[in-house]
């Protein structure tokens, strides 16, 4: 009698799915976070608005003043209205957006480089290196940031000549703002990185790496740093929002990006006098700052949940 042929499932082949890497797992979780997705999409739209808009309006147009057209409410000729010296607000929000976003991202780049460097050296080497770097970090932390920003902006402002790239001219103040925001915001990141290094450097694979003759710098940057990327990414995403806000305060107080170069912050500065009479002056740049900061924060929240190594659920 022939045995009934029961198909035996090839378990190993049928059931084995390739295991997910941290990043794939992160993406799966990130996708579920609707607000974070919204933040990501919004941020892309804002980037398209600021950098794509430059193909519609020239910078010359954004800086062109026609006093006969001053303080015009939104109309078909000027969809966002005009400011106190008759410049088109739509064009200025586009170019101002470039500057504000540029400041946000580049300042964070500086912050990340400084923060990683200080945190990694302090955490990895420990001892007196740690003591000196951390005391310096704490010294920086106890000075109120806004105060420090204003003093530095006042001190360095106007000392950098305007920068010409191709046809465009940028106020030298942009560089100053980027540098001082970067230089005053790295401390929290440095502490996060230090804490991560303190725990990772004790792992056995670091000992194993040392036992194969790996140098300290390779251990720091190739072995430990990749393990600490998740908290660094989350923290620096949230810092972009803070940097954009910081730029707004300084510019609002007139110490930031100098005219005629527009930024969302200095557009607000000029509108303070017209709070009631010409609300479109502050509404559009203010709304753009709000949207940018909000979407970056949502994005950061989503990344925090997605990249948290302690939650392993999808």
């Amino acid at each position: 009698m022939a045995a009934p042929s029961i198909p035996i499932p090839q378990l190993a082949d049928d059931l084995s799915t390739p295991p997910l890497t941290l990043w794939q797992l992160g993406w799966l979780r990130f996708r579920r976070h609707k607000m974070a997705l919204f933040g990501g999409v919004m941020l892309i739209l804002l980037l398209v608005f600021s950098f794509g808009g430059a193909f519609v309006f020239t910078e010359k147009y954004a800086n062109f003043n026609d006093t006969s057209q001053r303080l015009q409410p939104p109309s078909s000729a000027h969809p966002f209205g005009t400011d106190s010296i008759g410049r088109d607000i739509l064009a200025r929000t586009i170019y101002g957006g470039q500057i504000s976003l540029f400041i946000g991202f580049v300042a964070v780049l500086i912050e990340v480089v400084l923060g990683i460097l200080v945190g990694a050296l302090a955490g990895y080497y420990g001892g007196w290196v740690d003591s000196i770097l951390m005391r310096f970090t704490e010294a920086m932390l106890i000075i109120p940031t806004i105060f420090l920003l204003l003093v530095m902006a006042k001190f360095f402002g106007g000392k950098i000549p305007d920068i010409h790239i191709g046809e465009r001219a940028f106020s030298g103040s942009v560089v100053v703002i980027v540098a001082i925001i970067g230089a005053t915001s790295w401390m929290y990141l440095a502490r996060i990185v230090r804490a991560e290094f303190l725990s990772w450097k004790e792992r056995e694979f670091i000992l194993a790496a040392r036992a194969t003759g790996t140098s300290n710098s390779e251990i720091i940057f190739l072995h430990i740093l990749p393990n600490t990327m998740a908290p660094i990414i989350v923290s620096s995403t949230l810092s972009v929002a803070n940097a954009i806000l910081a730029e707004s305060y300084i510019s609002f107080l007139g110490l930031g990006v100098q005219e005629p170069t527009a930024s969302w912050g200095n557009m607000l500065d000029k509108s303070a006098k017209y709070l009631d009479s010409a609300p479109w002056l502050w509404f559009f740049p203010g709304m753009l700052i709000l949207l940018t900061v909000l979407s970056i924060n949502f994005l950061g929240d989503g990344l925090r949940d997605a990249l948290d190594p302690r939650s392993r659920t999808v």
Partner: protein, 329 residues
């Protein structure tokens, strides 16, 4: 006879802790010849790993401190070399594999990336050369489908496979000496046997010397040439492997062998355990450190720590008593 590869004399390592000074290694001396396999046995916390890590200068300083001794490796004292010079030696001349393969690989780097590291650092391979060599190395340690698996991450390997990867990493630069720090302890017995066999096979083809740290006398029997028994940071017995089993001459070695399960043991016979615990290394013991747990103890043991005494050919033991007769030497 074969030439000496490493000659360690009076190596002493201590750790400064808030509770006091821990004397982890208390003046050990031994040598190892080219191509020879030496097993270092002893229970947990008796200084096996610390002494071997001292040789590679992998002890974190502070709190650790190697405060005396020499370790002559091919005419150079390892303990006098700069950190830079040590980086050139680690992995290239002397490689080390660790106990727990689950934590000894970096989780975010591919296996290939970790394998190619020492090839690039020590042998100056280009990335392309190193990758090719990495695949060969994985094949050599018996990992199937090596060409594809070099791109995998450590979590995609099982424990035994990871230990194979660790061995491949350690052997990538064909070191003259391999220090294996309990490489089979975290693995189950079948895998243990495979790993031991793998290392034994690679030892032949690479003609390297091995220091095999273990607390399992059974694992070393078939593989080691000589055995060093350590207790409380001292070497208490050193002998050719057969001598240790046939003719143990230190009470501690005797006790370790008694604690080993044997196929020919009578069923009603219980495994012997060693009473007590290893001494607290915070207090420097007066007399023999094993005295409180020793069944042969005599008055002299509590007063004076015995030096390593010659008891036979290539055989020395640090005991005041002849354990076969129970008579003081």
């Amino acid at each position: 006879m074969s030439t000496s590869l490493l000659q360690v004399s009076d190596l002493r390592t201590r750790f400064q802790t808030p509770e006091g000074t821990v004397h982890a290694v208390n003046g050990i001396s031994f040598h190892i010849n080219e191509g020879e396999t030496v097993a270092v046995v002893g229970e947990s916390g008796c200084g096996k790993s610390v002494s071997m890590m001292s040789l590679l200068r992998l002890i974190p300083t502070p709190p650790g401190e190697i405060y005396a001794g020499t370790a002559i490796y091919r005419n150079d004292d390892l303990l006098k070399k700069s950190e830079q010079e040590m980086e050139d030696i680690r992995g290239k001349e002397i490689a080390m594999i660790f106990q727990d393969p689950m934590t000894s690989l970096n989780p975010v780097l591919t296996v290939g990336r970790q394998l190619t590291e020492s090839l690039r650092v020590h042998l100056g391979h280009t990335q392309e050369q190193a990758e090719k060599r990495a695949v060969e190395l994985l094949e050599q340690v018996g990992i199937p489908d090596a060409a594809r698996r070099v791109q995998d991450f450590p979590h995609q390997f099982s424990g035994g496979m990871r230990q194979r990867v660790m061995i491949a990493m350690a052997l990538s630069c064909a070191p003259s000496l391999l220090i294996a720090d309990e490489p089979t302890t975290a693995l189950d017995v079948t895998i243990q046997a495979q790993i031991v066999e793998l290392v034994a096979r690679l030892r032949e083809s690479l003609h390297m010397a091995i220091i095999w740290i273990t607390h399992d006398l059974g694992v070393v029997a078939g593989m080691a040439d000589r055995v060093i028994v350590m207790y409380a940071g001292y070497i208490v017995e050193e002998a050719d492997v057969q001598d240790v089993y046939d003719n143990p001459s230190h009470p501690y070695t005797l006790a370790l062998l008694g604690a080993l399960p044997r196929v020919d043991r009578r069923r009603d016979q219980r495994l012997k355990s060693i009473p007590g615990a290893p001494p607290n290394l915070l207090v420097e013991p007066r007399g023999c450190p094993f005295a409180p747990r020793c069944e042969f103890v005599i008055e002299k043991c509590r007063a004076e720590n015995p030096p390593l005494l010659h008891v036979g050919k290539n055989h020395s033991s640090a005991c005041w008593v002849d354990v076969k007769t129970g008579v003081p030497r």
